[in-house]
């Protein structure tokens, strides 16, 4: 894990990285998300990670599905090609792009609806293929953009805006990824930049599918723990009054705490999430142990964060397909077309 060092702190915004770029050079257009949305914090962390790694922005491609989370690639790396595609199907796009040009650094941004509902099949199969991409799942337990329906990561028992309980099991993206043989599995919290930035960097450097589930509170529809009290409060005092179209300006939730520690984070609606950061001596090389640990802590009401599992010796899709160092897009046509003489020769088979 040598490449997951703590980020250096206290950079002035205009400090230059190794290739002479400032953090500003890694920004995108201005966000249109709700003030305080966790997704914006993740955007900031992504900008930071790319900047720290001194990756030339134009050598990056950023892809997403549809949702509030999927809008965010517009808000970072304006010099990178972006693709805000269709709902839930970004994994296949990034797979195709990766086959075509493996010399690009790929980042995919998605939401829990995008990834775990409509896109579950594609996500699972991209993991299985070990496509070389950093896949960031901005997980808020709801469909933000369509106004707060439960997503598949909503906890059982949590309450909707209207006060109806979610009756189904939540899908845990990390457990799913581990089960599918993912080669990099991590979880973090949007407000924990100190943890998130190095994880993003590790994911970018990982050769294969780097899955990061980032808990990212939705200011507007978030109800992560389903604390009835807080929602009841909101319903009584806000929702009915303004016909649900008033979104109170909020601050993004941030937290910093030490490896091995547990931190209770209060969400916008007053509910809490207990985060447990894996300890420094946690060994992310054992898939089964990682699975077990997540399950165990979950049973204790804790959400484990950190780099949960990594395998560094597995082949990514490029390697599995025996692709060479020169990306397919750069092969000259002459190396692709067998020519007329060969065609004539070949056709003797068809006689």
């Amino acid at each position: 894990m040598t490449y997951i060092a703590k980020p250096r702190v206290h950079h002035p915004a205009l400090q230059k990285n190794e290739i002479g770029l400032t953090r500003r050079d890694y920004e995108g257009t201005v966000t249109t998300l709700c003030a305080g949305c966790g997704h914006d914090s993740i955007t900031a962390a992504i900008i930071h990670a790319f900047w720290e790694l001194s990756i030339p922005p134009h050598t990056v491609a950023k892809l997403s599905g549809i949702g509030c989370s999927s809008k965010t690639p517009a808000y970072f790396l304006k010099e990178a090609h972006g693709f805000n595609s269709v709902h839930g199907r970004m994994p296949s796009l990034v797979t195709g792009a990766n086959a075509a040009n493996g010399a690009i650094t790929y980042i995919g941004v998605s939401g829990d609806g995008d990834s775990l509902s409509i896109g579950l099949g594609q996500l699972c199969h991209a993991i299985r293929r070990n496509v070389n991409v950093l896949y960031v799942l901005e997980n808020n337990g709801v469909y933000g953009l369509t106004k707060g329906q439960f997503s598949a990561s909503a906890d059982p028992g949590s309450l909707s805006k209207r006060g109806e309980p979610n009756t189904m099991e939540a899908i845990d993206g990390c457990l799913m990824a581990l089960t599918l043989g993912a080669t990099f599995v991590a979880r973090s919290f949007s407000g924990d930049k100190a943890q998130l930035v190095p994880l993003l960097k590790a994911g970018l450097k990982h050769k294969g599918f780097a899955f990061i589930d980032v808990i990212s509170p939705c200011v507007t529809f978030n109800d992560h723990e389903g604390s009835t009290k807080s929602y009841a409060y909101t319903r009584e005092n806000t929702v009915e009054v303004v016909q649900a179209d008033f979104i109170a300006p909020a601050k993004a939730i941030t937290t910093e705490y030490d490896p091995g520690a547990v931190r209770e984070v209060t969400m916008h609606d007053g509910s809490t999430v207990r985060l447990r950061k894996v300890a420094d001596d946690y060994d992310p090389a054992d898939r089964d142990r990682a699975y077990h640990y997540i399950r165990k802590k979950h049973a204790e009401g804790e959400v484990v964060t950190g780099l949960l599992y990594i395998s560094t010796d597995s082949k990514d899709m490029q390697a599995q397909n025996s692709l060479g160092a020169t990306p397919l897009v750069q092969l000259p046509y002459e190396q692709l077309c067998p020519g007329s003489a060969e065609l004539a020769k070949l056709q003797q088979q068809f006689r």
């Binding site: 892809l63 792009a97 397919l328 060969e342």
Partner: protein, 598 residues
């Protein structure tokens, strides 16, 4: 009619029984005799046991369409005796396995029975279940060789080419051929009145199926990324592409490939991969069939609106829904032309045979990149999976891919600014850039509302400007798709207009009509949007028979919509039972209409 080199026969067996080798041996031998020949494989959606047929038509005159009239039936499947025996033309022959007593259903007074104890012979001469079953097939090939005058030397040569390296297999196959041959020779008047005589009409031709040819086209077009999900009848296309790539695109020294084939988890994913790869700059394609296109609808709209090239091969099968996966139809014409919600229109190419499948595959990539939009190549099960006799494929080594407007790093560096959707040249086509090229080339592709600069918009005028340009762009492709093929005096009262694999049947029908003194002009459209010559053809003729293979007259619908010519000016001739169109259907359809009018 002279029956030498003009007849058809059919072989009825059970699926998975190994008859395919025998059938293609027969086909190939006839072909090597220089006699034009076509084979239609009529197989079930099943792996083992259900009825399967192979139809071979021999035509010295060169007619390659299916004929539903069989002079000889090789009835080896008890499950279909009854049906099979009915299909023999009066005066024809029926070959059966006389190992067992004659099934009652095989009695017909107007045909001649040819009993050959195939099973008995093979049981006597071979050991082991597997070999006995396999050799029975080769034995009937031997018998047919005698009965139809198929050159025995050619068969020997073919067996040698195939099993040269395996003498034991060579021997047993030759033995089986001889068994059938000798038995027929000694027991029946060989050859029958329907028989072969050597010609020299196949020397510049090949026998190839459309999926293989289209795959070859993809290789020659320089396509590097193939994504797919298996579906009959398109599956063999990707299998062929893989074969060719392993042959031509594998660097054995370094063990690296100059291609990537991605077996997707479904068709939504396959088209996503294709769009992703094209967006990244590779020529990429997917072969599929109707159900696959249905699933791709959402993504196709994205490619249309975000203007990303994509090549989709639709090897059509009988719909709707799962339909008859192993039967042919031209039933996705409408869906492909307008796939996806919202206002869309897509370029379509319609090859009529494997040779055009090869050529249009190449063309499809050029058009997809020039117009930055999805392009469909519509073949069908008949073109895709059956062996067709076509002129040898040609290749012009000076060909270079038309990548369309793709800006290089240098061009981007020099440009003041790059705006992805700006129509600089006034032709409706904006330049694109590829990821990784240059910082100035960056843009944000999206399927949501965008203005000509590539920015997100919900503004009516900005939105309208872009979708209007896209409409102009795609309509402009009418000048770039392959022009229709025409024939006839040009001033006939009647016209026949068709598409794709109906060509062969129509050409034969045109000749037959001419023989009856009915002159027609003929047009086969080969691309969509239609060029102006199509409108002109429709307007010029009093009546145009539109010949196609679907229930609802989809070609006629497209013609009406796109040319403005009223439906009433077109007489629809349709056959959609799942077999390839035959001249018989065309003539019958036309005759019915002519009588109605008269």
């Amino acid at each position: 009619m002279n029956r030498v080199n003009e007849f058809a026969f059919k072989i009825a067996t059970a699926n998975g029984s190994g008859s395919a080798s025998a059938n293609s041996l027969i086909m190939q031998a006839i072909f090597r005799m220089g006699v034009p020949v076509t084979g239609k494989n009529v197989f079930p959606s099943n792996i083992q046991g259900l009825p399967t047929w192979y139809e071979i038509r021999v035509s010295g005159k060169g007619y390659t369409a299916r004929t539903p009239q069989f002079d000889l039936m090789v009835a080896l499947n008890p499950a279909t005796y009854e049906k099979d025996v009915k299909e023999v033309q009066p005066g024809g022959w029926l070959l059966h396995d006389s190992t067992w007593p004659l099934d009652e259903r095989l009695h017909r007074s107007d045909i001649t029975l040819i009993g050959i104890p195939l099973a008995q012979m093979c049981n006597d001469h071979f050991s082991g279940v597997r070999e006995r079953i396999l050799m029975k097939n080769i034995a009937y090939a031997g018998a047919l060789s005698a009965l139809l005058g198929i050159d025995a030397d050619i068969i020997r040569t073919l067996l040698k080419e195939k099993y040269g390296r395996k003498p034991a297999l060579m021997d047993s196959n030759q033995k089986a051929v001889d068994l059938g041959f000798t038995y027929a020779m000694s027991n029946f008047p060989c050859p029958l009145p329907i028989h072969l005589a050597p010609l020299d009409k196949t020397k510049d031709a090949i026998l190839i199926d459309g999926n293989t040819a289209a795959a070859l086209g993809c290789v020659y077009a320089g396509a590097t990324v193939g994504a797919w999900y298996p579906i009959t009848p398109s599956t063999s296309m990707m299998e062929a592409f893989k074969r060719f790539c392993l042959k031509y695109r594998r660097d054995t020294e370094s063990g690296t490939n100059r291609f990537a084939i991605l077996q997707a988890e479904d068709e939504l994913s396959a088209i996503g991969m294709v769009i992703g790869a094209n967006w990244a700059g590779a020529r990429s394609f997917t072969p599929t069939s109707g159900p696959g296109i249905s699933l791709m609808n959402e993504f196709l709209g994205l490619a249309y609106y975000a203007e990303i090239p994509a090549v989709v091969f639709d090897v059509q099968r009988t719909g709707p829904s799962t339909g008859m996966p192993t039967r042919t139809q031209q039933c996705d014409l409408m869906m492909c032309a307008y796939a996806s919600h919202g206002d869309t229109k897509h370029i379509c190419l319609y090859p009529s045979d494997p040779r055009e499948a090869f050529e249009f595959a190449v063309k499809a990539f050029d058009l997809a990149e020039r117009y930055q939009t999805p392009v469909f190549v519509l073949t069908d099960l008949d073109i895709g999976m059956n062996d067709w006799m076509v002129p040898m494929l040609q290749w012009d080594d000076s060909y270079r891919p038309d990548r369309g407007k793709v800006l290089t790093a240098e061009q981007l560096a020099e440009a003041k600014a790059f705006y992805r959707y700006l129509d600089v040249d006034g032709d409706g086509i904006a330049a694109r850039s590829l990821p990784g090229t240059h910082p100035k080339g960056a843009y944000f592709a999206r399927g949501s509302g965008h203005n000509k600069f590539g920015g997100y918009t919900e503004d009516a005028e900005e939105y309208t400007e872009v979708v209007d340009r896209i409409a102009r762009k795609v309509n402009g492709a009418r000048r770039a798709v392959p022009a229709p093929v025409t024939q006839g005096p040009g001033n006939a009262r009647l016209g026949i207009l068709t598409v794709g694999g109906c060509h062969a049947a129509c050409m034969e029908a045109v000749d037959q009509l001419a023989a009856e003194g009915i002159v027609v002009d003929y047009m086969r459209v080969r691309g969509f949007p239609f060029g102006e010559e199509v409108t002109a053809f429709l307007e010029k003729h009093e009546t145009v028979f539109v010949v196609e293979q679907n229930r609802d007259g989809q070609l006629r619908s497209l013609l009406t919509l796109e040319t403005g010519v009223p439906v009433a000016r077109m007489e629809s001739v349709r056959y959609y039972g799942g077999y390839p169109m035959s001249a018989h259907h065309v003539i019958a359809g036309i005759r019915a209409r002519l009588e109605k009018v008269a």
